[in-house]
Point group: C2
Chain length 464, copies 2
């Protein structure tokens, strides 16, 4: 009997309809990113294992797919290579390797798969695509504004109108934690807990802070829950799904953050950046979507400045996210290069677009404009020659491969949703004529070989 | 300082210029294949290890990259997954898995990377792309003719005019070996040796046949060296590079093969196919390029019928190849599905096109149409807003991220080969005007904000 035929666990095959949907989204992403001046980069699926280890935290290390050494080493179980886990670490490696030949401001996009040995779940796969844009070489907040603008542009071109870009800053978080009197060795713990505010509520956060040895005081909580405690802010926030303009909300929140953070050095630097980003994004498509959210922390350890995440109504989890990571390239180069990037998750975008029927109808239609039938064994060459002629004229032509009964061939064309079929009967053929049949109406017309390409093109136009 | 920054051994990073060249070739391949009625398929990079093992022969097994089991199993060295080694075996798995929802004739193309732990060499990489087209579901030789036609079409669209499609048939080979009196258990050995005729000459072949225990007789050699021994054939062949029409050569060779093979059952079936393919390809773009070559054997063990390989002058090795494999799907499905396919090697095509300067000049030009400068910190928002306006009008816009001196910004645009730069001085800006500078001529004009997009578009057109 046959062998196992499913794809490996957590991996997927993409049949033609799936590929067309994926390519549609990728095309829009590329077009928008190119319009923002980004250029394409590709890196290998496989990296030296030491390039990846230690960059994603302990949990990340465990989720990396590791590749056995070849040859006699296979038996020792030693791994020397690993599958790409994200597109940011390979980018940092590339920038370190080719620094001399890259422009001072390296703006690249990269749309490639990554692999993580996560437990598969709905919408969570072990092979999935990331669509990254990053700017290397500048500390200007124009970079953050442009990235938010480009991501907004992509989503709007795809048909998403309601989305929020949650914005925070690692140094603001540090400032808040310091102002709240939490010792610096507990900052990571506190961030992990605060990140869960959405899921476990204030009481849950307090409980878990205590469990992790952070003694909470009223003053500390007032600082940490700055957003949730402010009534007017909470009210505005509850209107998200109706498409609130966040301008006043952000201004208000920035003011309160300034009060809380006071003279704290790190916090003040972060606040300056944050106000600048809010200000600059107003001049971009991201403007109406940016909302400062002090509970956003993001897991990855390499972020050093602004952090962002995009959310849409009715979807737990984000459509994408990113931030500034000024020190990562330094881990490869031995010298820091400022950097900031944004990553959109292709699979979640596709899941939502499919559920919400946001794909253009044309994507679901068959690829061929016309199918040529085979009249009999002797006329195969005639059909092949005509197929060549029509393709030369730019038409997409399917050629039925066998001299089956014409009825069977027509049935096949109909099942494949091919709009037109050409039948080359022996008599007509001898006089340089063919029959052109429109499958939807059954209508048939006799056309000369000289005019057939033009006729099909005209009639396809009439159907659009 | 810094960690290792090269890509893993035998793997490559593709900087923007490289990606553009690769995308250009891939776009042509896709366009042509779609015009022949093929639809896209994608499969995961990672397969269950048992899907791949045993499909590529002993040497193949050793070249497969194997992935360690996760978690506690990492220490045992056990591998449960492996990297895709070609696109044909995954296709066979896919056809077995989704047979019910695929059309009777499944015509798919697939352009994805594969991985082989080969020793890296010039033009030989451990990660490389294959561009495959396959037709499943038909035994008609129209399939072979269409595949040869499509591959020829691709090469011609890319600018290759001189190439040969070498054509042979596994059953003809079997027929020849049987007619030569070589026992069937020695057929594989004999094929491996004959395949080297190009490299080791007749004397070398005879020596190696003997070394492998095949006692050569004059009659056997006359049959095996059918092509090389025939003077008139050899003469035609020597003219390959001047672009010979192979029609007479093929007719002649088919006749001689028929004499040699006589009543041998397998050989006769193969010869029938071979004549049919030669006949049908005459009606396709492949016609002038098809040359029967009885010394072509091809390594992979899964071929059952016609085999093909494309060669160009001045390149050792082939640009692509393929053949019929009617039994491979059966290894997964438990029931045979006829199949035939063709694979083009992306990297060799790119190497040749680069060496021969066959890429369009436009590919080497920067991506942005215009760069916007930043006048000062206060006007960043104005530049951002204008960038948004121009992008909305379909232009590709780079925005310099920092308020550097204008001279420095212009220098950057020049280095990036961006044709136009916009400067928004404070005074002009206040009156709704900007300066548009053409970098090649240095020419500068003042344009209103309303007309700037249109002006740039017009002037870009003028430069084409």
């Amino acid at each position: 009997m046959g062998a196992k035929t499913q794809p490996a666990r957590g991996m997927r095959d993409f049949l033609p309809g799936d590929v067309r949907r994926r390519e549609y989204v990728i095309r829009v992403v590329k077009e928008v990113y190119e319009r923002y001046g980004f250029e394409p980069l590709e890196t290998p699926a496989v990296e030296n294992i030491e390039t990846l280890m230690g960059k994603y935290g302990e949990e990340g290390n465990q989720l990396i797919f590791k590749i056995l050494k070849r040859g006699v080493h296979e038996t020792t179980g030693e791994a020397d290579l690993a599958l790409r886990y994200d597109l940011t670490v390979p980018l940092a490696r590339v920038v370190a390797e080719y620094r001399a030949q890259l422009p001072k401001f390296f703006k690249r996009y990269q749309i490639q798969p990554v692999w993580r040995a996560d437990r598969p779940a709905r919408g969570r796969f072990r092979e999935f695509y990331q669509c990254d844009v990053d700017v290397l070489g500048s500390r200007s907040m124009i970079v953050e504004a442009e990235l938010c603008g480009a991501a907004s542009d992509v989503l709007m071109k795809l048909g998403f109108n309601e989305f929020t870009i949650r914005l925070n800053h690692r140094q603001v978080l540090t400032g808040l934690l310091e102002a709240a009197g939490i010792p610096s060795e507990k900052h990571n713990d506190a961030l992990v807990v605060l990140d869960k505010l959405d899921k476990i509520s204030q009481a849950g956060v307090i409980e878990e802070l205590n469990r992790r040895g952070i003694v909470t005081t009223d003053e500390m909580l007032e600082i940490l829950f700055i957003k949730a405690q402010d009534k007017s802010l909470a009210e505005v926030e509850s209107q998200t799904e109706q498409g609130v303009n966040w301008t006043d909300y952000n201004t208000n929140l920035l003011m309160r953050l300034r009060e809380r953070i006071g003279n704290n050095a790190q916090g003040s630097l972060g606040l300056y950046d944050l106000s600048k980003i809010v200000d600059l994004t107003k001049a971009s498509l991201a403007g109406p979507h940016v909302q400062i959210d002090t509970s956003l922390a993001r897991g990855l350890s390499y972020y050093t400045g602004a952090i962002m995440e995009i959310n849409v109504p009715d979807l737990a989890g984000s459509l994408g996210g990113g931030g500034r990571y000024d020190n990562l390239v330094g881990m490869f180069l031995g010298q820091d290069v400022p950097a900031c990037g944004f990553s959109l998750g292709l699979e979640r975008i596709i899941v939502l677009m499919t559920e919400r029927e946001m794909f253009p109808a044309a994507l679901t239609v068959s690829t061929a404009d016309v199918m040529l039938t085979i009249w009999d064994e002797d006329s195969m060459s005639d059909s092949l020659a005509l197929a060549g002629q029509l393709r030369g004229a730019g038409l997409r032509v399917d050629l039925y491969p066998e001299a089956d009964k014409i009825g069977k061939q027509l049935k096949y064309a109909s099942a494949q949703k091919i709009p037109f079929v050409i039948v080359m009967g022996a008599d007509e053929s001898a006089r340089g004529l063919v029959s052109l049949k429109e499958m939807s109406s059954g209508e048939q017309q006799t056309v000369s070989l000289e005019l057939i390409a033009e006729t099909i093109r005209e009639r396809l136009k009439g159907r659009e």
